[in-house]
Symmetry: C3
Subunit: 280 residues, 3 copies
């Protein structure tokens, strides 16, 4: 009977304290990163019921503690302090604790789909104790409905773009690929508009360097930007390289970078897994 | 009987492991932030008994892993390396892992009450995995007793100033208001001395922007500074705006900013609560 | 009987959830820092069995989530983007989530022992939620075997150099001493080559300042560099001072700095303990 009680109690404790008695791989993957998409959605809906007041500026939220907001008519003085183009009165904002790459990729799809401009992309050193960035992306438009639409599109893209982020307790490997870069990628990395573009991120930083080297040797691609803890990042523990070239070459380079990055984290004894579902 | 044992055991486990089986709101509020003041004091006194050696430079500690130290006669070469005014031999230091706003507000009261100057305020990217800052504030005086007194006053103010910090797992909302800004606020933000002054902080950063916009639209206040992850912060995931104006207007603006900030975090499915007790 | 079940269950829960019901000092020491060396090695070997693919560039890993990699023939374009001296084709990399001092000290021994140069040392704001840095150190050589050897030596030194890091939940105290500084310390801090050299680190930052003051007053040593959250760090919550002088004086100064730093953390109610074994 003792055994039966024991089992029952452990289950009760595990249930009462999420993460209290986790299975090892799940714990590893979740370390320093938000819940996966399914868990996240559940949690949000559950919690929200009792508290939520309707805020007209609130558009929605998504993985990575990403919040989407819209301001129809930004205060004139604030507009000046932020140094925004006075042409635009309305802004949409996508802001996260975890992730810059996924949000920038999502914003790139959003500007393609809407009549907005990406006026600002700022990176914070965050990921809630992880090795990377959070970000704040501002869309601007003359009409507020365009900014709102851009935020909606970006939030909806996030489960897809987070699919190529592979976190574990020791760091993470993150990759992004698009066949046609648009204005968000141009703003963030000087990506050549309309061309294939890839982003390679590894943490601890050395992994990003090896990923970049592997990518450049695998296929006929060019390096666009190279960022490291001292330069081009918000002092994150990442090396971030971006590449361009023919569509097939960029894709092949990105995949080879992922494989070598994931293998190094595994060699370190960890088990990086996609935050949603890989789509490369 | 099984039920009774179950309950007893869960209590025992919860007691043995602080935070092990917490009630949900408490866990949310504590995420990435230190214990509230009551818990903190208890913990400190308990642990200290066996280890503590008397260090004359140690003044005390407080919430946010804040330590207060005093150096009666700072080494001359160190003085130079730090670039401090050679006039002052004695310094008092308030340094924290979590919180810059609460400590700066507390330091502002301390300079009002003592014969000291605030010679340095530095922000670190910290909060122990949270989205914000830690800080290091240096008071200087000719007589060491003045610096010591300033540190004591500042530490004593912290439970009050932390009352307007509302953390949750996704970020935080933080507000500060004073009817009369003094030298610490002037040093940190260029606050006009003797005037009403308010600080608005939101994380993830977008929340701070919406709070600033709301404050400026609510009452007749002027923006003094605007800081974001790329500029004016230590790459924290915050937007920080400061405002001035008539006393009633600043207070009203700060309260409206708090309400909108807290509502956004709630819409995201979280439950931000004051770290001690709100005093706005 | 209830008591017996209770005890059995608590043990079971503690076992199932590492860190779930820890003894106080262990929990304190581990906060925000990786496992100690013994635990780490065990964990790594256990996890690695099923996943590991052989990557020729992978040299090994060590405490602080430190990874050692080697690239025999760095891509020419990447070489340019990184701004490295074109003379060297091969690089070795030591990159960590936790720790800059221990890795720099280890790299200093590695350059003494091998035919390599330290071409880059970058600091990230990391320690996985702790107050300090991660780092990325690049060795370069004409022959890849030299770079590989340097990485191997550095990884092997880490358990020793981590011995003088004393973490606890509130911050950490870290010290390093060498009788003869070499090229890694020269690169990182402008250490005078061949002379005795000491590094003093305290977090929250105020502790580092008191440690520096104590060191300078204890023995006849000179300050070489002084770094604080705003200047010279990657916005970490540390004050870092480096000192030089006669061998005995530097050693004595470092020890006195350690004692005062550890005492302050204890006064705050914490119990900082060496991550491996002190060797001062």
């Amino acid at each position: 009977m003792d055994e039966a009680i024991l089992k029952q109690v452990i289950e009760a404790v595990a249930q009462a304290s999420p993460g209290g008695v986790p299975s090892a791989p799940a714990a590893d993957a979740a370390a320093g990163f938000p819940l996966n998409n399914q868990q996240y959605t559940e949690k949000r809906e559950q919690d929200v019921t009792s508290h939520c007041k309707a805020i007209t500026e609130y558009v929605g939220s998504a993985m990575g503690d990403t919040v989407g907001l819209v301001i129809a008519n930004l205060d004139r003085h604030l507009h000046e302090s932020m140094g925004l183009d006075p042409r635009y009165r309305s802004i949409g904002i996508v802001s996260s604790r975890t992730g810059a790459g996924p949000q920038i990729m999502a914003a790139d799809e959003a500007v393609k789909a809407t009549n907005t401009e990406v006026v600002s992309i700022e990176l914070a050193r965050d990921t809630k104790g992880g090795a990377g960035h959070g970000c704040t992306i501002i869309f601007a438009s003359e009409d507020v409905s365009d900014s709102r639409r851009a935020v909606e599109v970006a939030l909806k893209e996030l489960p897809r773009t987070f699919g190529n982020v592979y976190p574990c307790d020791a760091g993470h490997v993150e990759l992004h690929y698009t066949a046609r870069a648009s204005l968000a990628l141009e703003k963030a990395f000087g990506a050549p508009a309309g061309k294939s573009f890839g982003i390679l991120v590894g943490a601890p930083a050395a992994i990003g360097l090896l990923m970049a080297d592997t990518a450049l040797k695998t296929a006929n691609v060019e390096i666009v930007t190279y960022a490291s803890p001292d330069k081009g990042t918000a002092r994150s523990n990442e090396i971030i390289a971006t590449i361009t070239g023919d569509s097939g070459a960029v894709r092949q380079a990105v995949i080879s970078a992922r494989d070598v990055g994931v293998s190094v984290l595994r060699s370190m004894g960890h088990n990086p897994v996609s935050m949603t579902q890989s789509n490369l």
